[in-house]
């Protein structure tokens, strides 16, 4: 059985590379933590940890949605603009009480997702183009709705979402953790999760297996936009005021980085939830490390770029293996 022997050999190589591929982000994170423990003053403190987690929460929220989109061999570039829309709408309906305001914001998010998802699933527009339209237009719309100004948020419940704590844990962290659990459950336990990876892994095969390909794509973009809207609420509440020009600016890039570094292949077919969370933590920690040590921020960007290249390179071996 020469065939079997050859298969065994290639299996060893592929397990080795897939070990690195699957865990690289964890290794990098641990290395960076150790580096900080040695170099950065006061790194091992509750304040440092809580700052890191609060700053990374919105990134984690949007990354989860982007991970789903990438899992279907798509992408969602519009998350930052959806955050801006959320920020613009949040103060507008606070007069009717916080539940109405939050509900309106989530509806706006869902609508944005329906637009993206319909373009991708029914019109057949490439995801990068479909969501690019909203990336460009969404922030403009947000500024129009906000009337070009930043409105303060005074409602204590909404403010709590960005600034409050429960049992000492910051509210944004609780929200992000809850989202991780929900999306992780969706991906790993439900038929929807299977459809996502099947559509991303081989759309024809998925269609021929009777999967609702279009409905799945639609749902993915709606979920992504809902998570982005939630991230917009958190970021706005943390700031204490709406700021549609700056909230979520360029966050799509951080999200894509987190997803890719976390081991979700850009070619779709897999969604790594914990990897994505670690990816987000890693890039945030890189930024924090450079700031804490008074290093030029530009070098943090160069290092992030290098990590992206390594992550993509490690994925390249896939498929051909």
């Amino acid at each position: 059985m020469a065939r079997g022997a050859a298969a065994d050999k290639s299996f060893d190589v592929s397990t080795a590379t897939s070990w690195v591929r699957g865990r690289g982000v964890y290794v990098a994170f641990v290395v960076l933590v150790i580096f900080n423990l040695i170099v950065t003053p006061n790194f091992a403190s509750v304040v440092t940890l809580s700052t890191l987690l609060i700053t990374v929460s919105p990134i984690i929220l949007v990354s989860l949605g982007v991970a789903l989109a990438i899992g279907t061999e798509g992408i969602d570039l519009s998350v930052g603009s959806v955050m801006a829309l959320a920020s613009a709408f949040l103060p507008l309906y606070l007069g009717y009480g916080w539940p109405v305001a939050v509900l309106v914001v989530l509806l706006v998010g869902a609508l944005a997702g329906l637009v993206n998802g319909s373009l991708v699933a029914f019109v057949g527009v490439q995801p990068i183009i479909a969501t690019l339209a909203l990336l460009v237009g969404g922030r403009g719309l947000a500024q129009i709705f906000a009337g070009g100004q930043s409105l303060p948020i005074t409602d204590p419940t909404v403010l709590w979402l960005g600034q409050g704590r429960l049992f000492g844990i910051p509210a944004p962290v609780i929200l992000a953790a809850a989202a991780v659990l929900v999306v992780g459950f969706l991906v790993n336990r439900t038929t929807f999760g299977r459809y996502v990876v099947a559509v991303g892994g081989n759309r024809s095969a998925s269609f021929l297996s009777g999967h609702p390909v279009r409905r799945t794509l639609l749902a993915v973009y709606v979920i992504s936009a809902l998570l982005a809207a939630l991230a917009g609420i958190v970021a706005t509440a943390r700031l204490g005021a709406s700021d549609p020009s700056n909230i979520g600016l360029l966050i799509e890039l951080s999200a894509i980085t987190a997803v890719v570094v976390g081991g979700t292949p850009l070619s779709g077919g897999r969604v790594k939830i914990m990897g994505t969370v670690m990816g987000a933590l890693l890039i945030q920690l890189i930024t924090n490390t450079f700031i804490a040590n008074d290093l030029p921020f530009t070098w943090a960007q160069v290092l992030t770029a290098a990590i992206i290249l390594v992550a993509v390179y490690l994925q390249k071996g896939r498929g051909t293996a």
């Binding site: 439900t190 038929t191 929807f192 990876v197 099947a198 892994g201 297996s209 009777g210």
Partner: protein
């Protein structure tokens, strides 16, 4: 055309890919002013040969001579500049540019200051098109023209570079009958000008109408080469399928093919499936416990019929009943629900989901049934997977191994498991044993037999004649998208089958001389 020096000569060329000998010591000659048919079934090596000639691939052994000199092209552009033009199945032009711009793309006539001389370009393009009897406004954007005219423009572009050899890869697959006539006019003109044409097509009528000589490839070798007029259709098909006419009547011995008891009521009835221009009024019935073979040469509409029944391709008209109940056309989900299962021809691109595990691949179609309120029951899933991995003998290190790491035969069994766990009423198998090793092949054939005995209706598509004749209880023969004949039980011999594929009358629209592209 008495033995002129060949314009293009392929000498003893061998090309290997990992695990495959794609071309095995191929020699081939294209004479000036001849139209040379290149035919063969899937995987015979036609595309590889064309790619070796045009410089997409380098031959591992052997030489290529063009106009008497040895050449070694490292990319298609070089072969094109040397005078070998290739016209591909799909139009490879720029839709938004004008016809003239497309004809001269990359070599536009320049005027003063090196600017493009638009008038001259339009004038010359017009002349070229006229010379070959192609009527089109050269200033119109290409996409405003019909697909056929676009194809003509591609051909005009190809031959206007002073090509000495033109390769046409299924040029008529998207053309209407009238456009085919224009194309043939162009080819005859080329022949007069002393250009050598390699013509790849599966349509026998066309080959006999336009080609002078033929080379038949099979399994990477030249199975036959010679004057086409000296070869009957039956002989041509025999060469393509690798059969000696004398042997055709003998029964094979694959152990595939028990006779099955069939019930009276059909389990599947497809009526008048039409999909322009690929299917015309295809009807077929399958009874429980019956294996119905769908026979035909490449491009006859076998896979298209299978996909139409399964709802994977939309149809223009036609209806489908399973167990007497009407099934919605055009939706695999509806077909699956009705009890149809479909093993597609292309395992890689339409079957397996490569990065998902064996387990996830097996339950792909069964997901809705294994889930309650959208939650997948791990227990039900594991039980099902274990049962089918065992009963089909799927060899994998664990159910969690990615399916791409399995051998072709095991991947095919995974796909079979995906469908068998649905308890289907009708199983459509499109080339179920292609590209898998002999052992797995026999196992799969045995399995199909066993399933039919248990009352499953099977539609079998296979390019292997013995698999077809021995496996089927009834055979429906297709040609050019229409049913041309039926064989049952004792009539199913390789001889009868080849006879049908060569000469079978078009039962859909009555006999038509040029039995293609009717407006049914």
């Amino acid at each position: 055309m008495e033995q002129q020096a060949p314009v293009l000569e392929v000498r003893r060329v061998t090309k290997r890919f990992p695990g495959v000998l794609a071309l095995d010591d191929i020699s081939f000659e294209l004479r000036p002013g001849e139209v040379h048919a290149l035919v063969g079934e899937n995987g015979a090596g036609k595309s590889t040969l064309i790619k070796v000639i045009t410089g997409v691939y380098r031959p591992d052994e052997g030489q290529i001579l063009f106009q008497g000199e040895e050449v070694s092209f490292s990319e298609p552009r070089e072969s094109q500049e040397a005078g070998i033009s290739t016209i591909y199945q799909e139009v490879n032009l720029i839709p938004l540019l004008s016809v003239a711009q497309n004809v001269f793309l990359g070599r536009e006539p320049r005027g003063r200051l090196g600017l493009i001389d638009r008038d001259r370009m339009n004038r010359e393009a017009d002349e070229i098109l006229k010379r070959y009897g192609i009527r089109a406004d050269v200033t119109a954007p290409l996409r405003s023209l019909g697909l056929g005219v676009q194809q003509m423009v591609a051909i005009a572009r190809a031959i206007s570079v002073d090509a000495r050899a033109v390769i046409m890869d299924e040029p008529t697959s998207s053309l209407e009958a009238r456009e085919v006539e224009t194309l043939f006019g162009v080819i005859r003109q080329l022949r007069q000008e002393g250009v050598g044409v390699i013509y790849v097509s599966h349509r026998l009528d066309e080959l006999y109408e336009i080609c002078d000589r033929v080379t038949v490839l099979r399994d990477g070798r030249v199975a036959h080469t010679g004057e086409l007029a000296e070869l009957s259709r039956l002989q041509l098909i025999a060469h393509m399928l690798g059969r000696e006419l004398a042997d055709v009547q003998k029964e094979g011995a694959t152990g595939f093919g028990e006779e099955h008891e069939t019930a009276e009521e059909p389990v599947l009835q497809a009526q008048g499936l039409t999909q322009h221009p690929r299917l015309r009024e295809v009807s077929l019935t399958v009874h429980p416990g019956e294996v119905v073979g769908l026979a035909g040469l490449l491009g006859a509409g076998r896979s298209e019929t299978a996909k139409a029944i399964f709802g994977a391709e939309p149809v223009d008209s036609g209806s489908l009943k399973v167990g007497g109940e009407e099934v919605k056309m055009g939706s695999p989900a509806a077909a699956i629900k009705a009890g149809i299962a479909f093993l597609p021809e292309d395992r890689k691109s339409e079957g397996i989901i490569p990065d998902l595990s064996v387990k996830e691949n097996i339950v792909a179609a069964a997901l809705p049934r294994l889930a309650r309120a959208g939650l997948v029951s791990e227990k039900a899933q594991d039980e099902l997977v274990e049962e089918f991995m065992q009963s089909l003998g799927i060899k994998a290190s664990s159910p969690d191994q990615p399916v791409r790491e399995l051998s072709g035969g095991n991947q095919q069994k995974v796909l079979l498991a995906r469908w068998l766990c649905m308890n289907p009423k009708v199983l459509i198998l499109d080339e179920p044993t292609r590209g898998i090793d002999v052992g797995a092949k026999a196992e799969i054939q045995k399995l199909v037999d066993d399933l039919a005995v248990k009352g499953l209706g099977v539609i079998l598509i296979s390019s292997e004649l013995d698999e077809m004749t021995e496996g089927s209880d009834r055979v429906v023969a297709l040609r050019d998208g229409a049913v041309v004949g039926l064989l049952s039980e004792d009539e199913i011999t390789e001889g009868n089958l080849m006879e049908l594929l060569a000469h079978g009358e078009d039962s859909g629209n009555g006999a038509k001389e040029n039995g293609r592209d009717a407006d049914g």
